[in-house]
Structure formats: structure tokens, C-alpha cells
């Protein structure tokens, strides 16, 4: 099974996100995708010494699998403590896979206004894209079988680990 050191990857993400934010000076804001991406954004905001709070965004209300799966949890997670209109948004997520979550959160974002730009930084890009979406920065690129679930976890002290599971093996 694949081993990913989430803390080491986080340190790389921190370096990768810095220039994305600096490119737009004070107009740049960090928005984490609920739930793993929101943990990352929270810690990046602190570790990069940024003033104010980070944003959190949920894909729930714009998911394209609502008809199959119904309403998912996490709908009330969207909290954007700044104006979206005219802002340069750096979206942060733990894992980039099909791109469908990114499509949904971009729609969610536009419900709050018209951002000047949106870029994406992720901890792990695992390929398998089903939409024309790409990350401006990925701390790691891996190839995983479709049956594998990759999810960020956070312990009581705020340390990150990656949880890799073979869903086929669980059945």
C-alpha cells in the first residue's frame, strides 16, 4: 500500500502556496474545501502569518451526484469571512481526483460574487480527472487504482496523516 507522509507534504504545500498568494498581494485570500482542505487552509493561514481568517467552502449544494446520493453532510460548512467580489482566491484541498468537487465549489463560490481569479493548490493530485481542471500546485502526484480511497486525517494535536484504503478489499 502507498505510504504518504502528510506532514512532509504539508511543508511542501506551504512553500508552494506562498507564491500563489504573493502574486496578488493583499487581494489574495485562502479558501479551504471542507473538510480536509479547510484544515489545511486553517493551518496555512496561521503558518504563513496571514491576518484575518481563512475561508471554508463546501461542495454539498452544487454536487452533481445529488440525484444518486442525496444530500451529503457538510452543507453548512461554507463560511467566507471576506468579500468574494474582486478577490483572488487560492483554493486549497487535500486530494484532487475527478475534479467534480472543484467544479461544485467554484459554482458555490460564484454564488457569493465574482472573484478576480481562482487558483487551486492541493496536497496530492491522484490523476483520474473527468473534467478539464488542473491544480496550479500539487505537493505530490501519485497514481492510485480507482478502488483506493485517499483521505486526509487530523489528530488531536492538529497533525496530518493520510488514510489510504482499498474499498474493494473491504467488500
Amino acid at each position: 500500500m502507498l505510504q504518504l507522509d502528510a506532514e512532509a507534504l504539508y511543508a511542501e504545500l506551504r512553500q508552494g502556496v506562498r507564491p500563489l498568494l504573493q502574486a496578488h498581494g493583499s487581494d489574495a485570500v485562502l479558501v479551504g474545501i471542507w473538510s480536509g482542505g479547510a484544515w489545511l487552509a486553517e493551518r496555512l493561514q496561521r503558518d504563513l502569518g496571514r491576518a484575518g481568517g481563512h475561508g471554508t467552502i463546501s461542495s454539498t449544494l452544487h454536487r452533481d451526484d445529488f440525484a444518486q446520493r442525496g444530500l451529503a453532510a457538510g452543507g453548512d460548512a461554507t463560511k467566507l469571512p471576506f468579500a468574494i467580489e474582486g478577490a483572488h482566491i487560492v483554493l486549497v484541498d487535500d486530494v484532487l481526483y475527478t475534479g467534480r468537487t472543484i467544479r461544485a465549489v467554484v459554482n458555490e463560490l460564484f454564488d457569493f460574487g465574482r472573484p478576480a481569479s481562482v487558483t487551486l493548490a492541493v496536497l496530492v493530485d491522484r490523476g483520474g480527472r473527468e473534467l478539464p481542471i488542473a491544480a496550479a500546485y500539487a505537493a505530490a502526484r501519485v497514481v492510485l487504482p480507482a478502488s483506493h480511497r485517499l483521505r486526509l486525517a487530523r489528530d488531536g494535536e492538529g497533525r496530518f496523516t493520510f488514510d489510504v484504503r482499498d474499498a474493494a478489499a473491504l467488500r
Binding site: 449544494l61 452544487h62 444530500l71 453548512d76 461554507t78 467580489e85 460564484f110 454564488d111 457569493f112 460574487g113
Partner: protein
């Protein structure tokens, strides 16, 4: 023979119709209240619309008039991006003799995905739910004296919003309880959510005798009924449902059971006052109370939209 399943739930225990709060487990109620919290914030966005019901048709079937309830259902469905069709049934085919199920069959042939039903007969929404295709969902918007589950849910949402926790509360429901489907729905919901003391307050003619069996404390004296209450729910005196001499007059009702500021002072200092609307000023509630600092009657209306969005999106996302 297997136990008969609650017709509102599918085999996985998920909500597919909302017909009554009675018989719904606590986690289903809590999930709707949590989801409503999400939709409340949608109302504050630049774009007050989400695409969950895009391409779905919601038919508002109001066999009985109710401007407020119909409007809030319509707004809720539109904020979920559904197409909404309002049928003025009282003036259409039923008056030409068409049966309820024929009306439903015809509307189903127009590709309805959801029916929101208000009917004077208790049980009408159940009958419809039994006869629709598996992909069609039914919401009870009030049936006779039986139930008004979205009003009950919005009452619970309102109480949770202001009081946070149900487990220490005293809730007094005051007025015309016998005609009130709102009271029934609220009593079922509050019991399931763990409210320790629910009181039904009103004259003997307007408080049904079977309430004590539901764990409700019946009070015929208003002072006793609202003393130390955290929540006071005043009900509308339903003149249109009164038959026979249940009450001498509206004025006399106000003398004994009208909610005035002096009487409200018996409740807890941080008590909230609720009312399902429309209010009859000077009959069941005094203007000083309806417009006063304890009143949360208008926030209830706002919460009602979010709760109806939560109900519609929850049932639409669950297959039969």
C-alpha cells in the same frame, strides 16, 4: 407478517415523503434541522439559489387556502431551482367533480416530481403518497386537524435557534389546541427531541382529552400554564373551524386566555413567544406581545423557508 413500514420512510429509514412528524425518529428530525441551518445562510447570499432541484417540477396543491404557507413553499422550491406550479384547486377540476386521485394521476402525467398538499381532510396526503409513482415525493402542508409537519419542524428549528438545547425546556402551547394540527405536530416533535415539559393551555372545550396520554400536562388556567415557561406558543383561534358553541366569544377568550404582557411576565425572563400566524391581535395575543421583545413570530417565517428547503431537498435526494 412483517411489521408495516412507516410510509414516509424507505427501506433504509430515509425520508421519502413528509406526511407527519408522528413516527419519525429523532435522527431524521435532527438531520432536517441541521440541513435547514445550511439553507438559512443561502438566503443571505448574493445568489439566493442552489441547483439541487433543477429540472424538477413541484406542484403546490392547495385544496384549502393558505397564502403564507403556499408562498413559503413556493419560495423554498424556487430557491432550490425547481419549477413551481401553483394550482388553485378550489376553483378548478375538483369543483367539476374530479376525484382527488384522478387529479393526481393527471398531474403525474404532466411529469410532476413533488406534490405539496394542503387539504381539509385528514389523511389526504397519505392517500396521495400511496398512489404516486416511486420517484414522486409528497409533502403534507396541512391536512384537516391532523398534521402540519413543516410548521412543526419550523417551530422546533426556532426553539433550537434561540434555546440551543431541548433537554431542560418547558414549552407552553396556548389556545385552540383541539382544532390545531400545528399543536399536534409540535407536541410529537418536541417529545421526540426530548423536551421534558410540554403544557397544553386552554379552555376545556378547546383542549382535547387525549393529550395527557401523549405526556402533555393539561392546564385550564393560563397563569398556571405559562408560569416559568421557556417557550410560549400562542395558537390562532380558528373561527372558520368552530362549530357549535365551543366558545362564547372572541372577546371572552381574550379575557381568559389572551397573551398579554402582564401574563407573559409569569414566564421566564428570557422566554420566547411564537405563533404560527396569521395572528388575531386582541384575540389570542395582544399587540404589545406580538410586537414585543420576546416575540420571534417574524423570524419563524424566515426559518420556515429554510426548513421547507431542507424537507424538499432531503426527500428529493432519497429514492423509494
Amino acid at each position: 407478517m412483517p411489521a408495516r413500514r412507516n410510509p414516509q420512510l424507505n427501506a433504509h429509514g430515509e425520508l421519502i415523503h413528509l406526511l407527519s412528524i408522528e413516527g419519525l425518529p429523532r435522527d431524521v428530525l435532527t438531520q432536517i434541522l441541521d440541513t435547514a441551518g445550511t439553507f438559512l445562510s443561502v438566503g443571505e447570499r448574493e445568489v439566493k439559489k442552489v441547483p439541487l432541484l433543477r429540472g424538477k417540477s413541484v406542484f403546490n396543491l392547495f385544496f384549502e387556502n393558505s397564502t403564507r404557507t403556499r408562498t413559503t413553499f413556493e419560495i423554498a422550491a424556487k430557491r432550490l431551482s425547481a419549477d413551481v406550479i401553483n394550482l388553485d384547486i378550489a376553483r378548478s377540476s375538483t369543483s367539476k367533480g374530479e376525484s382527488l386521485l384522478d387529479t393526481i394521476a393527471n398531474l403525474s402525467a404532466m411529469q410532476a416530481d413533488m406534490f405539496v398538499v394542503r387539504h381539509a381532510e385528514s389523511g389526504a396526503p397519505y392517500l396521495i403518497a400511496q398512489h404516486v409513482a416511486p420517484h414522486v415525493h409528497v409533502v403534507n402542508a396541512g391536512d384537516g386537524r391532523h398534521a402540519h409537519p413543516t410548521q412543526g419542524l419550523l417551530d422546533m428549528y426556532t426553539i433550537r435557534h434561540y434555546k440551543r438545547d431541548f433537554s431542560q425546556l418547558t414549552v407552553a402551547i396556548v389556545g385552540d389546541i383541539v382544532h390545531s394540527r400545528v399543536a399536534r405536530s409540535a407536541i410529537h416533535g418536541l417529545s421526540v427531541l426530548g423536551v421534558p415539559e410540554i403544557r397544553a393551555v386552554g379552555p376545556k372545550t378547546l383542549v382535547p382529552g387525549d393529550l395527557a396520554a401523549m405526556g402533555v400536562r393539561v392546564c385550564h388556567d393560563l397563569a398556571e400554564g405559562i408560569r416559568d415557561a421557556d417557550v410560549v406558543i400562542a395558537l390562532r383561534l380558528q373561527n372558520e373551524r368552530m362549530s357549535g358553541a365551543l366558545l362564547p366569544s372572541a372577546g371572552e377568550f381574550f379575557m381568559s386566555y389572551g397573551l398579554t404582557a402582564e401574563r407573559l411576565a409569569l414566564a421566564r425572563p428570557d422566554a420566547i413567544v411564537m405563533h404560527p400566524g396569521p395572528i388575531n391581535r386582541g384575540v389570542e395575543i395582544d399587540s404589545r406581545v406580538a410586537d414585543g421583545a420576546h416575540s420571534v413570530i417574524l423570524p419563524q417565517v424566515t426559518f420556515g423557508i429554510a426548513v421547507r428547503m431542507a424537507v424538499m431537498s432531503t426527500i428529493a435526494g432519497n429514492a423509494a
